[in-house]
C-alpha cells in the first residue's frame, strides 16, 4: 500500500506569498490601525486636563493622524512609512487655512481663534507678546468697517503694547497619551494584522 502527497507546490506558493506579500500588508495595516486608539487617548487626555472648555475643544479639533504606507512607486522613488499622531497632523495646508479663516471671522474683533495653525500656542505656551506695528496695521485694516466707538475699549493703542502670554496647557500630552493608549493600540494592531493575514490566506487558498 502506498500514498502520494500532492499539492506541495501550491502549499509552498501560499506560504511564500504569506511570508513575502501578506506580512508586509498586514504590518502596514496594523500600524495604521494602531493610530486610532492613540488619537482617542490624546482626546481623552485633553478632556482630563484643567484647560477651559473652549481650549479643550480647539485642542481636540487639532488632533489628527497621518499614515503613509511607503514603498517604491512606478518611477522608482522610495518613500518611507509614516505613522504619526499629534496636534496639527494629517491636515492639508488648504484645510487648515480654510479652518483658520473661518475661526478668525468668528473671533472678530478680538483674536484669531485657535486652529491647527496656531495650536502650539496652547500646547507649548508663548513668551510675552506685544502688538507689532504690522499687526496693528493689519488689525486696523480688518476693522475699517467697524464704527470707532466699538473699538474704544480695545487693547492698546499702538505697536509695543503688551498682549500677554499664553501658559502651556497641553505640554507633554502626546507622549502621555501614547503611554495611556499603548495597550489598546497594540490590541487594535494585532486584530487588524490577524484579519489581513486571514483575508490574504483566503484569497490565495488553493483547494487540493
Amino acid at each position: 500500500m502506498s500514498s502520494a502527497v500532492s499539492g506541495l507546490a501550491d502549499l509552498n506558493r501560499n506560504l511564500s506569498h504569506i511570508q513575502e506579500v501578506a506580512s508586509k500588508r498586514a504590518a502596514s495595516a496594523a500600524i495604521g490601525a494602531a493610530l486610532a486608539p492613540i488619537v482617542k487617548s490624546m482626546k481623552s487626555s485633553i478632556n482630563g486636563s484643567s484647560a477651559s472648555a473652549a481650549a479643550k475643544k480647539a485642542a481636540r479639533q487639532a488632533v489628527g493622524k497621518r499614515f503613509l504606507r511607503g514603498g517604491t512607486n512606478k518611477l522608482g522613488k522610495v518613500t518611507a512609512l509614516v505613522a504619526k499622531v499629534g496636534f496639527a497632523v494629517g491636515m492639508s495646508g488648504k484645510r487648515i487655512a480654510k479652518q483658520s479663516a473661518k475661526k478668525a471671522e468668528r473671533a472678530r474683533p478680538k483674536g484669531v481663534g485657535i486652529t491647527a495653525s496656531n495650536i502650539h500656542w496652547l500646547v507649548l505656551g508663548t513668551g510675552d507678546r506685544v502688538l507689532t506695528g504690522k499687526g496693528r496695521a493689519q488689525f486696523e485694516r480688518s476693522m475699517k468697517d467697524v464704527p470707532v466707538g466699538v473699538l474704544s475699549g480695545h487693547r492698546g493703542k499702538g505697536a509695543g503694547h503688551p498682549t500677554g502670554r499664553v501658559e502651556p496647557l497641553f505640554a507633554g500630552l502626546a507622549p502621555q497619551a501614547l503611554a495611556a493608549g499603548a495597550a489598546e493600540a497594540i490590541n487594535a494592531a494585532a486584530a487588524k494584522a490577524r484579519s489581513v493575514i486571514l483575508a490574504e490566506v483566503r484569497k490565495k487558498y488553493v483547494k487540493f
Binding site: 478632556n47 482630563g48 484643567s50 472648555a53 479639533q61
Partner: protein, 145 residues
C-alpha cells in the same frame, strides 16, 4: 441639520437631566462653552460641543450619512454632583435607560465612547475648582445633500 441643537433638544427630553439642570423652559445647557456670567450657584450645567462632522462617501459620491464627534461637559461644584449629572445624561435614571450612552432618536443615534473626570479652575480669583465629567459621544445622522 444643526447637530448641536439636536443634542440640546435630546437633553431637554431627558427627565433625569432636567431635574438637575432646570426645567424645559430654560435648562442650563450651553453650546460651545459655559458663559462667563455663569455663577457657581447656577451649577450644575451641561456644555455641548461638536468637534467634527464627517460626511461619509461612497463610490457614487457623497452619502447622506454623517458621523460626528460630540463632547458633553457635565459641570458641578462637587465631584459627586458632576458624576450624578453625567449618569443622568448617560442613562436618564435607569441603566441601560434612554440616555445618550446608547441613544436612538428620530434625528440621530449616538453612543458613549469615553468618559473622563477633570477639574477646571473657577477663574474667579479663588482657589476653587469646578468638577467636570467629560463625555465623548459618537453620533450618526442623515444630512441631506
Amino acid at each position: 441639520m444643526d447637530v448641536e441643537a439636536a443634542i440640546r433638544t435630546a437633553l431637554r427630553s431627558l427627565s433625569a437631566v432636567t431635574a438637575l439642570i432646570g426645567g424645559s423652559a430654560a435648562p442650563r445647557i450651553y453650546p460651545d462653552d459655559f458663559p462667563e456670567t455663569l455663577k457657581i450657584a447656577n451649577l450644575p450645567a451641561v456644555c455641548v460641543q461638536v468637534d467634527t462632522e464627517s460626511r461619509q462617501n461612497t463610490l457614487a459620491g457623497t452619502a447622506s450619512l454623517t458621523i460626528a464627534d460630540a463632547t458633553l461637559i457635565c459641570r458641578a461644584t462637587t465631584r459627586d454632583g458632576s458624576r450624578l449629572l453625567a449618569e443622568a445624561v448617560k442613562f436618564n435614571g435607569t441603566a441601560p435607560g434612554t440616555g445618550l450612552a446608547d441613544y436612538s432618536g428620530s434625528e440621530f443615534i449616538c453612543w458613549l465612547e469615553s468618559q473622563v473626570q477633570a477639574t477646571t479652575p473657577a477663574d474667579d480669583g479663588s482657589s476653587r475648582a469646578y468638577y467636570d465629567t467629560v463625555l465623548s459621544l459618537v453620533m450618526e445622522y442623515n444630512e441631506q445633500p
